[in-house]
Symmetry: C2
């Protein structure tokens, strides 16, 4: 997979409501799936599959801690991507009349 394909993969991974929510929660603090499960209204299995997609895109990483796996954001650039997109949307909202 070349660089452009990876970029597209990352954007695509972020472009889904559940996955975006997961990332937002992990930006606040690292947490285990069980905790995410309380916060996000979806089945454990479904959540797990979305986590896999985020992990494959390099967006999050997991560290086994006993029974749990603590997930966290892989690096700070993730936050910047989201901040920029937020900014874009804000600009957009301010410029439609």
């Amino acid at each position: 997979m070349n660089k452009e394909e990876m970029i597209v993969k990352v954007l695509k991974a972020l472009g889904h409501p559940i996955r975006f929510k997961i990332v937002k929660f992990l930006l606040i603090e690292p947490q285990c799936v069980c905790k995410l499960n309380e916060n996000i209204e979806f089945s454990q299995s479904n959540l797990s599959q979305h986590i896999k997609i985020l992990k494959d895109a390099g967006i999050i990483k997991g560290e086994k801690q006993g029974l749990n796996i603590e997930y966290s954001i892989a690096n700070d650039n993730v936050k910047h991507i989201i901040n920029m997109t937020e900014k874009f949307v804000e600009y957009y909202l301010n410029n439609i009349k």
Copy 2:
């Protein structure tokens, strides 16, 4: 559609190889679909549909100029989103061994 949904929509729109290519070309210079059609190996109809998705997400805008419609990037934040994602991927590539 709330702000979070719009953010997801933007990321999703960018997370497709053809649409990403369109945006990359338009970042270089505004151009009409016919020009894009030369650059991107897809049917006119398919291209047109992807353009619609980008337009709906507020990423590009089109201005009719005679027979052509000249498309361009709606605002500079688009460039920043992509730059950040590029940076993210570069970081990722430098940190796998």
